[in-house]
Every structure is written in structure tokens, then in C-alpha cells.
């Protein structure tokens, strides 16, 4: 189901790119209702729309039929958050969000893999943690930028996804009493992601029971702008091997930063060997 849903979302994005004529900095779509291509529960879709409607990064929305799918297009601007986030000395990557639908599909896959808790690292506006909560998983959102955490607190009035304003590299994960967590690492390998992920992997490695039960999701890139990793995995191969992890599956999903690119963002799911 995940592969089909992923492919349908990628196709929807391609169709949207071909018809979009607006000027917004970021833009994305969410289907209005459950369909054969998007068999998502009505109440889940409603919560995704609430997340976008209440989220101040979006300043405009309108209905549009894309392909055969009745969607709402959300247009947004993240410039002021970008400006704030780049002023943090330890910020690994400036804020740029994945699509809400991609966050939902990623969290759904994590749930299908049997994970009970999602920890959204470098969470931006907390959309992955939010989607995990929509899917009845426990979720936590770790973000360094105070302006973004304030934004998350506003969105927590829909569903509480437990935002923490903290440097994820020094956060005390034992506080969360995790049992079977999956960590979504924000930031590409080539944009500080390796260092961020290494710090967290090191911390979890010291929590012996947790290491074997933990999953990892790395946002990769196929862009030729970046030097490829010799072990591949969209930039994460060396880190995966070095930390005795194995890649389970990679799914490509639309993100704000790949809107104009032919390739979407590969999310590499990994776990300990």
C-alpha cells in the first residue's frame, strides 16, 4: 500500500507542478476526500487540512482539481522562519518543510513497520510529529529554533505532538521513556545531517535496550549539486554502514525543496543489524 500511495503522491505532485501558475515561495496540495488513489481516512485528511489552515506559514489556499483528484492548494512563505533559523550557531539546516502529505505517508510507513513512537528531529513546524499523532502513534518534536517551536505550540491546539525547544544533539532522550521509537532526521546528509544524526545515534547507542528497537529515517538527495556518498543511500550510506544499521526501504516523497526538481526526496528507512 505504501508504495502505491507514494507513487500516487509523486504523480499528483508532477501534475500539480505542470498546472501551478502562482508565485508563492512554497506550495503543496492535500486531497479533499478519500479516493481510490488516496485511501486515507476522512478524519485524518480533515486533521491534515486543519494543520495547514491553522499554520501561519500558509497565506493562501484554493480548491483545484489536479488530475482527477479534488485538492486544496496551500501557498506559503517561510522566509521569516528561514532568517531566524540561520542565525542559530548550531542549526544544521535552514527550515524547509516536507509536504504535509509526505509527512503523513512517512509516518504511516513507520507505523506499518511496527514503531510506536516518532521523534521528529529538527522538526520545523512539527508536521511529521503531528502526522504521527494523527495516526495514533506517540510523537515528540525536537526543534532548536524558538520561533518555530512557538509555531508548533500554536498547532498543538489541534493535536499535542509534544514539542521541545532543544538542540537535538544534546537532548536527554531518556526523559521520553521510549520503547520502540523511530527517529526522523531533518536535514540532508550534505547539509549538516551527518553530524546531527551521528550525535543522536551516539546517544541512543548508550541506551542499550533502545538501540535494537530503534528505527531511523534519513532525508536524502539524488541531486547532482552534492557529491554522492560512496556507499550511496542518497547520501547516507557511509553513516548507515559505520553505525551498523541496515537500510530497509527508501521511499521518494515530494518536499518544498524539490518542487521544481524532477527527483523527489528519498526517505531512507533504516534499523540496527
Amino acid at each position: 500500500m505504501i508504495e502505491k500511495l507514494t507513487q500516487n503522491l509523486v504523480n499528483l505532485k508532477k501534475e500539480f507542478v505542470s498546472v501551478y501558475d502562482g508565485n508563492s515561495q512554497i506550495q503543496e496540495v492535500i486531497p479533499v476526500s478519500k479516493s481510490e488513489l488516496f485511501p486515507i481516512e476522512r478524519q485524518d485528511l480533515e486533521l491534515l487540512h486543519q494543520f495547514a489552515t491553522k499554520n501561519p506559514i500558509y497565506y493562501n489556499s484554493y480548491e483545484k482539481i489536479i488530475g482527477d483528484i479534488h485538492c486544496i492548494v496551500y501557498e506559503g512563505d517561510i522566509n521569516k522562519y528561514w532568517l531566524n533559523s540561520i542565525q542559530h550557531g548550531s542549526s544544521h539546516a535552514p527550515f524547509s518543510p516536507t509536504w504535509i502529505m509526505s509527512a503523513y505517508v512517512g509516518a504511516l510507513f513507520a507505523k506499518e513497520l511496527g514503531y510506536a513512537e516518532v521523534i521528529d528531529i529538527g522538526s520545523g513546524d512539527g508536521r511529521i510529529a503531528f502526522c504521527a499523532k494523527v495516526l495514533d502513534m506517540e510523537s515528540y518534536s525536537i526543534e532548536l529554533d524558538d520561533m518555530l517551536v512557538d509555531l508548533q505550540k500554536l498547532l498543538c491546539t489541534i493535536l499535542d505532538f509534544n514539542p521541545y525547544c532543544s538542540d537535538a544533539g544534546i537532548f536527554d532522550y531518556s526523559l521520553l521513556n521510549l520503547k520502540q521509537p523511530i527517529f526522523f532526521i531533518g536535514g540532508l546528509a550534505q547539509m549538516g545531517g551527518i553530524s546531527l544524526a551521528s550525535d543522536i545515534l551516539k546517544k541512543i547507542d548508550t541506551m542499550y535496550d533502545l538501540w535494537n528497537n530503534s528505527g531511523w529515517v534519513f532525508a536524502g538527495t539524488l541531486s547532482q549539486k552534492y557529491a554522492p556518498d560512496p556507499k550511496n543511500e542518497a547520501g547516507w550510506g557511509t553513516l548507515i554502514e559505520k553505525n551498523n544499521l541496515k537500510s530497509i526501504q527508501s521511499i521518494s516523497l515530494p518536499t518544498a525543496w524539490t518542487f521544481h526538481e524532477p527527483d523527489d526526496t528519498p526517505y531512507v528507512f533504516a534499523q540496527s543489524i
Binding site: N23, S24, Q25, Y59, N60, E75, D77, N79, K80, W82, L83
Partner: protein, 146 residues
């Protein structure tokens, strides 16, 4: 006409292009991002040619050409590296600071779709200045290693 004449001709064209860019940089109070990138590109282009030619040219056989190379090298060192380059670094740093301050002071309440999309263009310019600064800083690191 032999190969060295072709190379000499090409070097003269490229160094003249560089001198024009340097003269523009001297006379203009502030260069655009495009002008900055174009100037550094030409500096690197001519510097690479100089490095290669100095290894290949016979000092006794092509003295005039070698003099021209050394003259261009001196222009890069005295006019660009010691004067224009530090000014560009300062100009970019100040401009980034000013634009950042201006964007942070803009009231974010009650903005129309058009206001937001026009303001986004200022952010785009800021990003262009920031990446140009990174590029210029790379050049500066190269100078300090020379």
C-alpha cells in the same frame, strides 16, 4: 601563426576583459551580485591561465609575452587582491546586515498576498548576497594559503 601566438592573443583578450572589470569595480561605489560574480570568475580564469603559462613559456624566447603576464599578475595582486577584494567583502557583509535588519523590522501582520510575494523577492536577493559572500570567502581562504 604558431600556437604560442594564439595563446598570447587569447591571454591579451582575457586580461583586457579583466582590466575592464577591475576598472568598473574601482569606479562604481557598489557592485551588483552579477558584477561581483563576473569579476571573480574572470580573476580565477586569468589566474589559472597565468599559472599554466608561467610553467610553459620560455623566458628568453617570449619575453614580451612574459612581461604582459607579469603585468597582469601585478594588477591582480595590487589592484584586486589588496584593494577591491577587501572592499567587496566589506560591502557584502554590510549589505547582508542591512537587508537582514530591514527584513526583520517589517511588520508581519496584515499583509496581502502581493505584499508577501513582493517581500519574498527581497529574501531571494538576500540569499543571493549570502551565497556570493560564501563564494568570495572561499577566494579569500585561497589568498591566505598562498
Amino acid at each position: 601563426m604558431d600556437a604560442i601566438d594564439d595563446i598570447s592573443k587569447m591571454f591579451h583578450i582575457e586580461s583586457e576583459k579583466l582590466e575592464n572589470l577591475i576598472n568598473t569595480a574601482i569606479t562604481k561605489p557598489e557592485l551588483s551580485v552579477h558584477e561581483i560574480v563576473e569579476t571573480y570568475y574572470q580573476i580565477m580564469n586569468v589566474s589559472s591561465m597565468i599559472a599554466m603559462l608561467k610553467q610553459q613559456i620560455d623566458e628568453n624566447e617570449h619575453k614580451t609575452f612574459l612581461d604582459k603576464i607579469q603585468e597582469t599578475e601585478k594588477i591582480i595582486s595590487t589592484k584586486f587582491d589588496s584593494a577591491i577584494h577587501p572592499q567587496i567583502m566589506e560591502q557584502l557583509a554590510n549589505s547582508i546586515q542591512d537587508t537582514t535588519g530591514n527584513l526583520q523590522s517589517i511588520n508581519s501582520e496584515q499583509k496581502s498576498k502581493e505584499d508577501i510575494e513582493n517581500e519574498a523577492k527581497l529574501y531571494e536577493k538576500l540569499r543571493a548576497k549570502m551565497s556570493t559572500k560564501e563564494f568570495v570567502e572561499q577566494y579569500d581562504k585561497g589568498l591566505s594559503h598562498d
